[in-house]
Structures are given as C-alpha cells and as structure tokens.
C-alpha cells in the first residue's frame, strides 16, 4: 500500500504513533495489526458481536466501527490496559473461576462490557445485566457462566462472600 497517513493515538494512557497507514483502517485493525494489541478481536466487522469492545473516552464502542484516524485526541482503553502489571481484575478473575471462558474469543470484549456495566451501575438487576451484555455474542457458553461471573463480582464488590 502506498498510502501514508500519520497520526497519534492515546492507547491505555500511552501516546502511540501510527505511520504509513491507510486512511480506511478501523481502530480494531490499527490496534491489532499496527500497535501490537491483539486482545480486541474481530468476529463480525459490523458492530453486532462486541468482540472488539474498547473504551473511547470511557464509552464502550465496537472498535471495528471506528475509523482509527477519527480517534485522534481521544482516550482509548483496551483489554490489555485493564491491569498492566499482569494481575487480574476482579471481572477477569471471576470469568476464570466461574467457567465463563470456553474458546475465549468473545472473552476480552465481554470483560470490557462487564467492567463498563459495573463501573456505571454497582448493583444491576438481572434485566440490566442481560441488556448490558446483549451486544456481546458468545457462541460457546450459552451465557450461564458469564452471568455467574457477573454475580460473583457484584457480590465481592459489596463485600458479600460468594
């Protein structure tokens, strides 16, 4: 490709230069293929499955639907930035311990969606949880263990032992 866009994105608090990019590249593509952040996954390329969920200025968005060059000047957060010392967040831990992970392809997007939900609502009811996760498709689990993981996080955050 002879295209040569140059811009800077702020990803997980760090300024990242993007060079010689094609203007049509999605944020998902740039994160995965140019910035070495493959945690966000591409599974539908049209905002239906949520596997590519990232935060742009604290809004949960499908990075496949965002042109990377339009994200200049925003704060982008990806699954890799949730806990950079390598330890697990409470949501990640609950996904592992409650069996919410099978193939794992939807998992990073779901982890981001659950963080987003619980950051904005510390005691969601069943319908609120289901609605908040309904933009993230999981084909393996049938969602049962994912709901169990969310319930565990809510309980732990409230100081109720699970």
């Amino acid at each position: 490709m002879s295209e040569s866009e140059h811009y800077t994105l702020t990803v997980n608090g760090v300024e990242r230069k993007v060079s010689d990019a094609w203007i049509g590249e999605s944020l998902l593509y740039v994160l995965r293929e140019r910035l070495g952040l493959p945690g966000s996954k591409g599974a539908c390329e049209q905002g239906e499955c949520g596997s590519c969920t990232v935060f742009v200025d604290n809004a949960a968005v499908c990075s496949c639907l965002v042109m990377a060059a339009t994200a200049v000047g925003t704060q982008i957060a990806t699954v890799e930035g949730l806990n950079e010392d390598g330890s697990l967040t409470d949501v990640q831990e609950a996904f592992v311990t409650e069996g919410a992970v099978q193939c794992g392809f939807c998992t990073p997007g779901l982890v981001m969606a659950v963080h987003h939900l619980l950051d904005h609502n510390d005691s969601p009811n069943e319908q609120e949880i289901k609605e908040a996760l309904s933009g993230n498709i999981c084909r393996c689990t049938g969602y049962g263990r994912i709901f169990a993981a969310v319930d565990t996080v809510i309980s732990v955050r409230k100081g109720i032992s699970s």
């Binding site: 539908c44 697990l88 193939c103 794992g104 392809f105 289901k130 309904s134 084909r139 393996c140």
Partner: protein, 753 residues
C-alpha cells in the same frame, strides 16, 4: 488479584482452564493473532453464482497492482486438484464450473488486506450462468442434469427391519423441515503458513478440529510428502463442526510456497459463511404405527438431506439421521429410505449433533402426535416406549450402552416450573425483548418435551483412534497429544487425568501439533472418550514403570503398589512415599494409542453394528409466545443428561448451557436463507444468534451411571445438549398456540398465519 486453589485438580473437580488467564487478559494467541516477519496477507476470490461455467479467468490486472506478490488459480495447484473428508470431490479452485455461491476461484497474496481486496476486484472472470439445481427432490428424480461427475446422489441408505407389513390401530404422520444452521463460531477461519528456507516443506498454524486429516489433504493438493507439511494448532475460536473440513489451508500454504514468504489468511464474517459447511437442511417424513396403549409398532420414514455442491461428510450425516429414526424408543419394525443429495446450494457437513438433530426434530414431533392421538400424556407416551440396554435397534444392533433414559425423563419432569408471568412484566422479559413490541394480553405460555439419543464417536467400521504421550520427570508430568482444543476443555481434562492416575500436581502439555500420532477429530462427542482414553492409557503405562522402579528400590512386588492421593503406598505393607520423591531423578515416557471397539458397515437393508455407543438426554421447554406478533421467548429449559461420569462439573455445565443456546437458536431464530442458490443473510446482522437477552433459565441434572465401555466411565457430553432442546421448544410453541408447526426455526409467520 491471584487465583488460589484449595483442592487438587483431579477427576471430578471443577479444575480451571489452564488457558483461562491468558484468554481473559487478551493475550491468548488465536490463529488470527499470529504474525511473522515479512508476512503477506492472503485473500480468496469467490463465485457470485451458484452454478456457472467459467469461460475465462484474466488475472493480469491483479498482478499489476503495487503490493500484489502472487495470484493463483486452479492452474497453479501442484498436486491433486480436489480434496474432501470422505470423497475427494471438491476442487481447491474451480476451473471449469462453479457449483455454489462462494466457491473459490483464485487467491492473492499482497502487503495489506486492502491491497488484497483491490486485487480480487481486478480479477476478471467471464461466466456462462447455468440454471442451478436447488430443489433436492430434483436430484433424486433425475430431472436435472448431473452437476458433478460423481452425480447428484451422494448416498442413499435404506433400513428394513422386522415385518414390513406390520401396522397398528393408531397411525400418525408428519413432514418436518429443518433449516440450514450455521456453526457461527466467533473466531473466523484463519491460518499462518511459513515456508521452510529450503523451499521443500512448510509449517502451518491453523485453527482446525483435526490436524492430521488437514495435513493429509493438504499434502496431496500441495504435491508434498506428509512429513514436509507440519501443522500446529493455532488458537481456535470455537468450531462446532465447521472446522472439520479444510477451508483456507491449501490456499494459504500454496501462496506461501509460491512467494517463499509467510502468508496469513483470515476470513471476514461474510466470507466465513461461504468458507465452511453448514448443518444440512432436511425434509423428513415419518409415519408411526402404534397400539392404543401408545406403544410403537412400526415406523416408516423418508429422509432427504441437502448436501449442497460437495459431499463433505454428507454420507455420514445421512447414516446418523436414518439410524436415529426411532429416537430413544423401542421399535420392532421399520422401513426407512434416506438420501443425501448434491445441489447448487451451499455445501453442508458437520455441525454439533450431526444428522441426529434433524432426525430428533421429526421423531419428537411424531411422539407428540402420538400422544395427541392416543390421549396419553407427552411424558407418559415417551416413558412407555423408551429403549433399554440390551434392546435391538432398527439396524439390528443391540444397544450395549448404559441407558438411564427413564431417570433422564423423570428427573427433568420433577424440576420446578418457572413462575407465571406477572401482569406487568419487565419489558425485557416479554417476547421480542428490547423491541418492546409484545403486548402482555397476547402472551400465552406453553410447555414442550424433547428426548433424544446420540451416537458417540465415529461409525461404520472407521478405525477411530487417538494418541497421547505421558512423560514423568522429577514429580512433574508433561503430556503430548494432537487433540484440537476448540474451547471444549480437553486441555483442562487431560491434566486432571494425569493427576488422578499418577498422584502428581504439576502437569503441563506440549504444543498441539502433528509431531505425534493423530488424535482424530474434535467432533462426535469423542475426545473425552478417545483422547481421554489415550491420556489415561499413557499415564497408566508410566505408572506401571514407576511402580517397577519403586518396587525394585524397596524390594516390593510392583503389583502391591498403588497411588493414594500424591503418595505411592504398599497396599499390604507400610511403605508410603510421595510420587515426587519416588520419581526424583527418574524419567519415564510412554505413548499410548487408544482404539474404540470395532464397528461395521450397514448392509443394503441398513443392518449392522454401525455405532460405538450412545448418550441420552431429556429436555423440557417453557416458552412465552405473543400469538399476535409471532414472537417467542424461551423462559426455561430443564434437562437431565446421561453423562456417564462427571469428570469436571463446571465444564459439563458449560457444555450443556452452550449446547442448549445453539439448539434454541435452531428452534426460533437461526437459519441461513438460500433463494435459488443465493445466500441472503451471510452476516451477524441478518443471521440471528442468541444473545444474553435470549438466554433462558437452565436447570440441569447430570445423570451419573458410569459406562463400563468408556475410559473413566464418562460419555461425551458435547452434542446431547443441542439435540432434543430444539423439538422441545417447538413443541412448547405448538402447545401455546395450538398450531401444527412442523419446521424449525419457527418464524413469526408460522405462528401468526
């Protein structure tokens, strides 16, 4: 936070996935995440027509685009031009005729996915469009010319059993249609091929269900010896049958060999719909003859599976279908005729349930018709007919498997029903969900039943085996196997087996690749039994060697030794020594190949011991239906499943809940819509999948009656959950609406009109 364990992760525990932490952190490497230095991207040109003659292909303009490094067509295939799992009838690239929409014609390699897209657009293909064969009946009645040199009938199989002229006072019949379902794994097809420096071999990282079978087919098409084609499992984002056939494997490898550079291919979602086979759409007619007490006397049936353009596994799907005509019920007399046919529709093959999903939808519809005709309750009519261990099936095969079917049904029936919907329900609890369209006054609740049996492992004389190696060094074990981990959790189970057999805690597994014998496919509910059996066998051989070592050191006959937790003990003496200590400075490695018992082909009358074993399950569905709008919400699924023995409760729960969601999808929303050979909805916008809002409450009972034929007593649990849940949901919709609905998925118009 860190995860702390409080118990040993042995068989029976809910051991956690060893890959779980890397998956939640996003650093698990799926095949689509792989990169190599100097890598090119590959892409595939596909036919827009379901049936056409290729007049000419001009690739010259594509070559001229800056960044394009390679363009290949059928002329560039160095080895065999066709491939296939059972019959090698599918071209690597179409060269004279295209037989389905989406058939590959050419492939390119370039520096960027966008360059690839432009190169594909620059390839000029001239087609002479032909009238497609899209009605499977026209394949059978020979009213359409053969669309393939192998003809339009892929396989026909009859079953004739007992008295063909038997009849009985109650006769019910129905014709059932099952739609084309997509596996819709989240991680689309992807591979990275890296040619050897000497140009004589290649290493391919690929998401697949069966590394060795892929390698066999690839080597033939590449014209290379198998040992020069090394496959490594790339992280697999789900499979469900769709990775049993090869897709982009040969194309990626060929581009890499041609360019002498690493090439990565990854399908987008739309291409994925064209890149893999689907669940066969089928039409099944059944007529049941029964006595007034509800007991089945004879079943007549006719199956037509639309295999699409290439045979894939259609012949095996057909056999699964026809041999499960009776379902989990006794049936002394049967006449069955089954066809798997070739059409210009999308190729169909393996999907979770593999032919039994279709048969079950029909036989369970029939059981409800029988209940209605005899005035016997839906549960009672099933209980009166259930099959038992030792009964003869319509193939003449004696059912040898443990068959706790009565428990499955009774335990399901005993589970609590959900509360009635309140007068002012939350809008998200209404059918239609967040669409807020349903009106409480139009909502009717229904309850329905589905019961099924499913064969486990491969059938019809296939010498099915799996290989595993166990190496014990200084108290820790390394396992090696080629078993595809696709999300099901074999990588969790295998270390559990080693810990239980050897009394160790530290167990790792080596890279999953072709550097050991085949494990067979991750399909047919077979890996816990087959690869579990192989790991169990290898660990037992190592244990024998360890006991010999300890016995010689202590002057004890090795037969007296046993594992007790993490110790070796003398069962009639006082010696107790930890496995850790006993294996200090001791290394032993053993490889074991597990084979299941031999099966037979069916004869021309469909008689023969063709299946290895069976698992059983019951489902009860509760639905709410808006009868005005035709919207359905599945409220609850209760299920009791015959699992043999629970080796990991959390994994089994995950398989059951996940399978139920897929069966729910087939019941009320999932269908690839094909009009005259044209696929209308190849996207996640138009092909609807169950979301969190569609997930019903699931009540589960795991029936544990260990099967003596199964290693560790455990039956495969992957397929059973998705089989009878579909007819149970559709029966519940019939129950709510009073409509005779004989197709799935059920569409709003099936309810409203």
């Amino acid at each position: 936070m860190t995860i702390t364990k409080t118990q040993r992760d042995i068989l029976g525990s809910s051991a956690l996935r060893p890959d779980g932490i890397s998956k939640v952190q996003g650093d698990y490497e799926f095949s689509s995440d792989l990169h190599a230095e100097n890598m090119l991207w590959g892409a595939t040109l596909r036919s827009p027509h379901p049936y056409a003659r290729i007049v000419s292909i001009d690739v010259s303009a594509a070559w001229k685009i800056a960044g394009v490094e390679c363009v290949i067509t059928a002329d560039d295939v160095p080895g065999q031009l066709t491939y296939g799992l059972i019959s090698e009838d599918q071209p690597v690239f179409a060269n004279d005729v295209v037989r389905y929409m989406g058939e590959p014609i050419a492939a390119v390699a370039a520096d960027h996915p966008e360059t690839c897209r432009r190169a594909l657009a620059a390839i000029h293909v001239v087609y002479e469009v032909l009238a497609p064969l899209t009605n499977p009946e026209h394949a059978i009645d020979e009213s359409h010319e053969p669309i393939h040199p192998d003809g339009n009938i892929i396989r026909r199989q009859r079953i004739v059993h007992g008295d063909m002229h038997a009849t009985a006072p109650i006769v019910v019949e129905g014709t059932y249609d099952i739609g084309m379902q997509d596996q819709a794994f989240l991680g689309t097809e992807s591979a990275l091929a890296i040619p050897d420096h000497d140009g004589a071999g290649i290493e391919v990282f690929v998401a697949t269900q069966w590394l060795h079978e892929d390698r066999k087919q690839m080597a033939k098409c590449l014209g290379m010896p198998e040992e020069k084609v090394r496959l490594v499992l790339g992280g697999v984002g789900g499979a469900f049958g769709a990775r049993e056939d090869i897709s982009l494997q040969v194309h990626t490898a060929l581009l890499a060999m041609r360019t002498s550079r690493p090439v990565k291919m990854q399908y987008g979602r739309e291409e994925s719909f064209f890149g893999h086979v689907h669940r066969h759409p089928a039409q099944i007619w059944m007529r049941h003859h029964a006595n007034t007490d509800g007991r089945i006397v004879k079943i007549e049936a006719r199956f037509v599976f639309d295999g699409g353009a290439y045979s894939s596994t259609s012949s095996a799907v057909l056999i699964n279908g026809v041999t499960h005509t009776q379902g989990p019920y006794q049936c002394p007399n049967a006449i069955v005729d089954g066809y798997a046919v070739r059409t210009n529709n999308p190729p169909c093959g393996a999907m979770r349930g593999f032919g039994v999903v279709q048969a079950c939808f029909a036989h369970e519809g029939q059981m409800d018709k029988l209940a209605a005709a005899t005035g016997i309750d839906e549960v009672e009519i099933r209980l009166r007919n259930i099959i038992h261990t030792g009964d003869t099936m319509i193939t003449g095969q004696i059912l040898e498997s443990v068959a706790p079917l009565e428990r499955c049904i009774r335990e399901t029936a005993a589970m609590p029903l959900p509360a009635e919907m309140g007068l002012q329900p939350h809008e998200l609890d209404l059918p239609g969900g967040s669409g807020r369209t349903a009106d409480r006054r139009n909502i009717v609740r229904g309850i329905g039943w589905g019961v099924s049996m499913k064969n486990l492992m491969y059938s019809e004389g296939f010498d099915d085996y799996s290989t595993a190696r166990c190496t014990l060094t200084n108290g820790s074990v390394e396992l090696k196997f080629a078993t595809s981990e696709v999300g099901q959790g074999f990588v969790t189970l295998a270390p559990q087996i080693a810990r239980s057999v050897l009394g160790v805690d530290e167990v790792t597994y080596d890279t999953i690749d072709t550097q050991i014998g085949s494990a067979g496919s991750t399909s047919a509910s077979r890996q816990t039994w087959m690869s579990g059996g192989a790991v169990d066998g290898a660990c037992r051989m190592v244990r024998e060697r360890l006991f010999e070592h300890v016995g010689s050191l202590h002057g004890i006959e090795p037969l007296r030794l046993a594992i007790d937790d993490t110790d070796i003990i003398d069962t009639i003496g006082t010696l107790r020594i930890s496995v850790q200590e006993a294996s200090a400075n001791f290394t032993v490695s053993e490889t074991f190949e597990y084979h299941h018992r031999q099966t037979e082909d069916l004869d021309e009358n469909g008689q023969g011991n063709c299946h290895v074993a069976f698992a059983f399950v019951a489902h009860r569905a509760v639905v709410d239906v808006d009868v005005e709008l035709g919207l359905v919400k599945v409220v609850q699924i209760a299920t009791a499943q015959d699992v043999g023995r629970v080796l990991n409760p959390m994994s089994v729960t995950g398989q059951i809940e996940g399978g139920i969601a897929q069966g729910l999808g087939l019941a009320v929303m999932e269908e690839i819509i094909v009009t005259n050979g044209i696929v209308r909805n190849p996207s996640f916008t138009d092909y609807l999948l169950p979301t969190a809002l569609d997930a019903p409450q699931v009540l589960i009972s795991m029936i544990e009656e260990p099967d003596p034929q199964a290693p560790m007593g455990a039956k495969g649990v992957g397929e059973a959950p998705c089989i009878s849940v579909t007819p149970a949901i559709v029966a519940a919709i019939r129950n709510a609406t009073g409509k005779s609905i004989d197709r799935c998925p059920v569409r709003p118009q099936d309810i409203c009109f």
